[in-house]
């Protein structure tokens, strides 16, 4: 064995060779299975099965759910539960509300993050560092501290049960500003300098140079913002009380209150699918960007 490890490992071979420890050392297959594949498969199942159970549950009948025996697969899969859920709570309307709040909220937030970051990096102004710190520290102020005062302010202005009331208080963006500022600082200054010499103003430089060469970072910020807006719960829960102004997570809470009986689980699972599936689909395709955005700051 020691001879085997001592065989010179050329850098090329090491690069091609897979994981560090797997190197060139012969590893018993048994250990790869027990220590590798078994936990890998187990963990994947533990995460995936509940989600699969949700999809299956939404296709079952009430009878199948309350049966004494476990019904693994729906006998005759139907979208009946989705229809019944829509009869209790206006799902198309909730979906529309969530889409409006997410698109408007995330759109404005990303725009603000881009302009703020550009201003902080490329435009001359005194005390920029302090202004940036002020924005950054906002990240550390937990949302529940601002809950009551914001509720009083927005409700006082007539913003309860309105789109603007749901969207406005969350618009200030520290996360996106931070991420984009980091990125803008890494851009080559010469390109912008050349554009400036050619007479391009700041807005022009932002629009036709900085934004086009920053699309991956902007996409990352946009995706994370969209997902957060879509899932946002606490604030919409407090500021909406009319069924037709609720976002999906708030409407689901209402649905759960209305449907306390176990036989209504297909309806609740249908609701869960409606709120989970869009994000799951986006995640499946754009996983790389989302993971990068959410884990930023960890690897510095």
């Amino acid at each position: 064995m020691s001879i085997a490890t001592a065989t010179p490992v050329t850098p090329e071979a090491a690069d091609l060779g897979p994981a560090p420890s797997a190197g060139q050392r012969p590893r018993p297959i048994l250990s790869t299975i027990l220590g590798g594949y078994l936990p890998l498969v187990l963990a994947t199942l533990i995460i995936a099965l509940p989600l699969l159970w949700m999809f299956l549950g939404s296709l079952k009948t009430s009878g199948e759910v309350i049966s004494n025996e476990i019904v693994w697969l729906p006998g005759s899969p139907s979208l009946d539960a989705y229809q019944r859920a829509s009869a209790k709570v206006d799902f198309p309307r909730l979906f529309l509300n969530s889409v409006i709040v997410t698109v408007a909220g995330a759109g404005i937030k990303v725009l603000l993050a881009i302009t703020t970051a550009y201003g902080l990096v490329f435009v001359r102004f005194p005390f920029k560092k302090i202004i940036f710190m002020g924005i950054l520290v906002a990240l550390m102020v937990p949302s529940q501290v601002s809950l009551l005062p914001n509720y009083l302010m927005i409700a006082g202005l007539g913003g309860a049960n309105t789109y603007w009331g749901i969207i406005l208080p969350g618009l200030g963006t520290a996360f996106g500003t931070f991420l984009l500022r980091q990125h803008f600082l890494s851009l080559p200054g010469e390109i912008l300098e050349a554009a400036a010499i050619d007479g391009a103003g700041h807005f022009r430089r932002l629009w036709s140079i900085v934004i086009p060469i920053s699309t991956p970072t902007i996409a990352t910020v946009a995706l994370v913002t969209v997902v957060n807006e879509w899932n946002d719960y606490l604030w919409p829960l407090i500021i909406t009380s009319n069924d037709d102004m609720m976002t999906l997570p708030v409407g689901l809470t209402l649905l759960k209150n209305l449907e306390g009986d176990p036989s209504s689980y297909p309806i609740l699972m249908a609701g869960a699918v409606v709120v989970i599936l869009p994000v799951l689909i986006v995640f499946m395709f754009l996983q790389r960007y989302i993971v990068a955005g959410l884990t930023q700051g960890a690897v510095k």
Partner: protein, 316 residues
């Protein structure tokens, strides 16, 4: 005209060169300042109005005996704080917060680390596994809470049916306060361990390969290599995760609200602040007190974190 614009440009983009020119471009300076304000002010103003103003307002509310919706409030100074720290209920809330936080932070970090060591091996399908494990982290807490309510249901839940089928007693997850807390902890860890796994994985992949190869040549076992090389080198990652998961666990809300709306056994500080104001009690002043206490805890933790990083930088 042309020359003037060149002046603006070098003034803007090369502050180091600005010293060469006399500061006579005040007009351009003002223009720059206006552009800056147009770009930064909306965001800064939103943050000031909806983050910093409420922070101060909340502290003020915490000194009031005030029912939400009433226009009369009585100043009680630190009365709410005295009430909080002298009531048995509040100590129960603090206890719940401590258990929930320690269990979810510990659980996600330990399981995340184990998961990362598996994902770090060159196995077929590990990309898919990594994505799957991370997925719950981005999904709606309300949706996830509903799914697990369905699984844990004592009568129709698949978990209960499996236990019953195996002749085991079915725990009353929703009635027994301790079990409710355990249930929410399990689901919270399930939802968040992928975050820890992915960050640990990134940390492991940043470890120079020759270090681990050298250990292997010296005949170190896999466990020994991990304990003496990988784990110490991961300490910045572990610390980062400890802080981020600690802060988010202390602010957990969605799962608790949807799975245990009454907070029976699951009322953490965060949830108590919500319940006091919006859960039927309408105690605005007391709610502000609870959230201010939580805020102070978060600030202390953040300062500790900054101190620690400072130290690390000095010693590094």
């Amino acid at each position: 005209m042309q020359g003037g614009q060149i002046g603006v440009a070098s003034g803007t983009l090369a502050p180091t060169r600005a010293g060469l020119r006399p500061p006579r471009m005040t007009k351009q300076r003002v223009r720059e300042a206006l552009i800056f304000l147009a770009m930064v002010l909306p965001n800064a103003a939103l943050i000031a109005v909806f983050v910093y103003r409420p922070l101060l307002a909340n502290m003020y509310y915490s000194t009031l005996d005030w029912t939400l919706g009433s226009d009369k409030a009585r100043r009680v100074g630190l009365g709410n704080y005295v009430e909080f720290f002298t009531s048995a209920e509040s100590w129960g809330v603090l206890r719940t917060t401590l258990i929930f936080t320690v269990a979810t932070v510990g659980g996600s970090i330990v399981l995340g680390l184990l998961m990362a060591t598996v994902l770090n091996r060159q196995l077929i399908g590990r990309g898919f596994a990594r994505a799957t494990v991370f997925a719950p982290y981005v999904l709606s807490g309300v949706g996830i809470g509903l799914v697990w309510t369905f699984i844990f249901d004592p009568i129709t839940g698949v978990l209960s049916m499996l236990l019953r089928g195996g002749g085991l007693p079915v725990p009353q997850w929703f009635l027994d306060p301790n079990l409710s807390l355990l249930m929410v902890i399990i689901v919270y860890v399930w939802k968040n361990l992928g975050y820890c796994a992915v960050i640990y994985l990134a940390g492991m992949q940043a470890i120079p390969r020759d270090l681990i190869e050298a250990a292997a040549i010296d005949g170190a076992s896999r466990f020994r290599t991990f304990w003496s090389i990988v784990w110490p080198l991961l300490s910045p990652t572990s610390f980062f995760l400890l802080m981020t998961t600690l802060l988010s666990s202390l602010q957990a809300f969605d799962l608790i609200r949807i799975m245990t709306p009454l907070g029976n056994g699951t009322t953490t500080l965060m949830y108590d602040a919500y319940l006091q104001a919006f859960g039927g009690y309408n105690r605005a002043g007391f709610s502000a007190t609870v959230s201010t206490i939580l805020f102070v805890i978060l600030i202390v933790l953040t300062v500790v974190q900054l101190r620690f990083i400072e130290k690390r930088v000095h010693y590094a």
